[in-house]
Amino acid sequence: MREQYAWRSLLIAGILGFIGITIILQIVRIQNSPEAAIFRAQANEYANVLKTYYPDRGEIYDRNGHLLAGNKTVYEIGVELSYVNDKRSLALAVGAELGLNPDDLYNQMMNPQPGQQYLVLANYVDADKAAQLQQLKLATDAQTKPGELSSLAGLEFTPHPERSYPEGSLASNLLGFVSHEGRGYFGIEEKYNDLLAGNPVQVWVPTDPNKALDIPKVPNGTTLILTINRDLQASVEQILDDSLTKYGAVHGTIVVMDPSTGEILALASSPRMDPNQFWNYGTIYQNASEFDRAIGEPYEPGSTIKVLTMAAALDSGAVIPSTSFLDTGEILVGGATIHNWNDQAWGQQDMIGCLQHSLNVCLAWVSEKMGAQTFYTYMNRFGFGHLTGVDLAGEAAGRLKVPGDGDWYPVDLATNAFGQGISVTPLQIMMAASSVANDGRMVTPHALEAMIRDGRQYNVPAQFAGSPISVNTAHTLTQMLVASLENEASSALVPGYRIAGKTGTAQIPGEYGYEPDATNASFLGWGPADDPKFMIYVWLERPSSSIWGSDTAAPVFSEVAKQTILLLNIPPDNIRNEIAKP
């Protein structure tokens, strides 16, 4: 009896064991069957998803933390073609909401590329418009019966950042702009494109949750802090706009710089554009050099160069402030006769008088006294004919002809001395003149104050570009320039502050020599003279109310200086002296 039971138990155990082994064999067979290979291949297709990451482009702030360039969310709107139920309705809805042609959208959906699964219908769509379309899709989905595809099925919304400039056209000449492709053009955006750019990256992302840590970390761009002061920038732009109207100038440029560090505090140039609408670039500018005239448009500056001619003459020992010169109204240099701006003789003058009355004849004589080699050696030291190295894209080097060049003539020595026959940018003159304002040390202009990456701030130190003149020369010349402005009762003066500066009125070279009635009016100045906190350059192109820099650029300088003093909290000289007392 027991044996009979044992036999039955063994039989049941055997059957169960057989079933178990059969299941295991079946599992192994299925795992290795051709169908399994197909399923595995299908699974592999979904194991990774190609995703586009749009890291934020680095933000740009002014020196006080005001956002000048940020990012806003816009949407890419597309369709998953395999889920689209009603192409006609979808084209009509998208067309109506986004202002696109429904027929074009319908044709795009009807004629996709071979193998195309996803089709972009519109990109860089504002969040508001995208939200409206999304609401419509949700409403349509809600009305659809369960298990059915709605008429807007397949519509996809992908958010991504886009460059945005909350201040509009403010400082646009300095900032530049960013195209939809994410590339920076002009100014800071181009110069620091590699630092700022968080370019979109396409990567295969594993869908397996166990590989979640394999999701790539795409770092955002570096944040930049600029040296400019937003409020000063706005004031300077306003003054420039008003000046263009007031003096009937075609274009203008104003730059405010700290001469001790080279920090650009404000840079205004006309015309400006709203970088939020960068596609208008072609209608506003004829060529790239016009985008930022302060660095991209070299011109013959006229008498503002006399500051540097005199600096070279004083430093080389060719003249001293009291050197006398008998001005007869003309001088013959290299076979050409040089005249004063008013074609008159000014009689006996010292070097302060030569600067005060801006005598071309006197400065031509000074340059001859120095000699071509000395003069051009100093001009080279001042950086003329070379890039300043400012951290803005689109800088031009200008042109300084030197003896030995095919197009240099002896008369060029005289004309270069008063700023004709030489082409420079406003920033080049400021850089050169910074040596006079800064105890002989020349600074490299720059617009970047600091960078922020991974929560750490890296400050950009001031860079010096040599010492073309001595401390004594710098101090002496500054006093001469202060005296010349005060003696002249220049309209550039600012009550309460001692200002050093020089006007400039230059003829404009044309196709057949200099234009008879058009000039470039300029003013270069800095203050307070004993401890300069700002240097301002004003350039008005072709002013029509008066051709003279003393009537146009000088008062503009004064106005800018007053605003600079207010916004930078620079006390008048008497208050500063009182504070300095022990």
Binding site: Y61, H66, L67, P209, A212, I215, Q457, K562
Partner: protein
């Protein structure tokens, strides 16, 4: 005098009991069931850990997406805020409130002995705060092999220190 016979019988009975086939069978079945139970427990723990890892992975994926979305929303809001506080907007608001731009001649300076105006040099403050990493003891994260390797390494280090001393 039957006592030795009785003892012999008892011993035989106990031996027979110990060697009973059904008892040996039960012992085998018990051992087998114990092995099955052990395997089931390991499988259950593995399943639990694997599912928890998958859930955590899915949460990481969701949080990563959420983080990107939040960062974008932050950037969006920051830009909107900058637009609302832009120079032109603030100037308009100030004028609406009755403020007027000051002229340089209207400015009055007051000398305060010993006062030095603060200069904001550092804009970001200290480096950005990072979320503190959870301090999980290695016993909860390392595998058996890791633990074994670590023990070997620490043992060799100890012996080396001993040699140098």
């Amino acid at each position: 005098m039957n006592i030795p016979n009785v003892n012999h019988t008892v011993i035989n009975t106990v031996q027979a009991y110990k060697q009973a086939p059904w008892r040996v069978q039960r012992q085998w079945i018990g051992t087998f069931m114990l092995a099955v139970l052990g395997l089931a427990m390991v499988a259950a723990i593995y399943l639990d850990v694997a599912s928890q890892a998958a859930i955590s992975g899915r949460e990481i994926q969701d949080l990563t997406t959420e983080m990107i979305t939040t960062q974008q929303a932050n950037a969006d809001l920051e830009t909107k805020l900058a637009g609302l506080t832009s120079n032109s907007a603030m100037e308009t608001r100030a004028q609406t409130l009755g403020f007027k731009p000051i002229e340089s001649s209207q400015m009055e300076y007051l000398i305060v002995p010993g006062y030095t105006a603060p200069i904001p040099e550092i804009l970001t403050g200290v480096s950005a705060l990072r979320p503190s990493a959870p301090s999980i003891p290695p016993e909860y994260t390392e595998s058996l092999l890791d633990w074994f390797g670590e023990r070997l390494r620490s043992a060799s280090t100890t012996s080396l220190i001993g040699v140098s001393q």
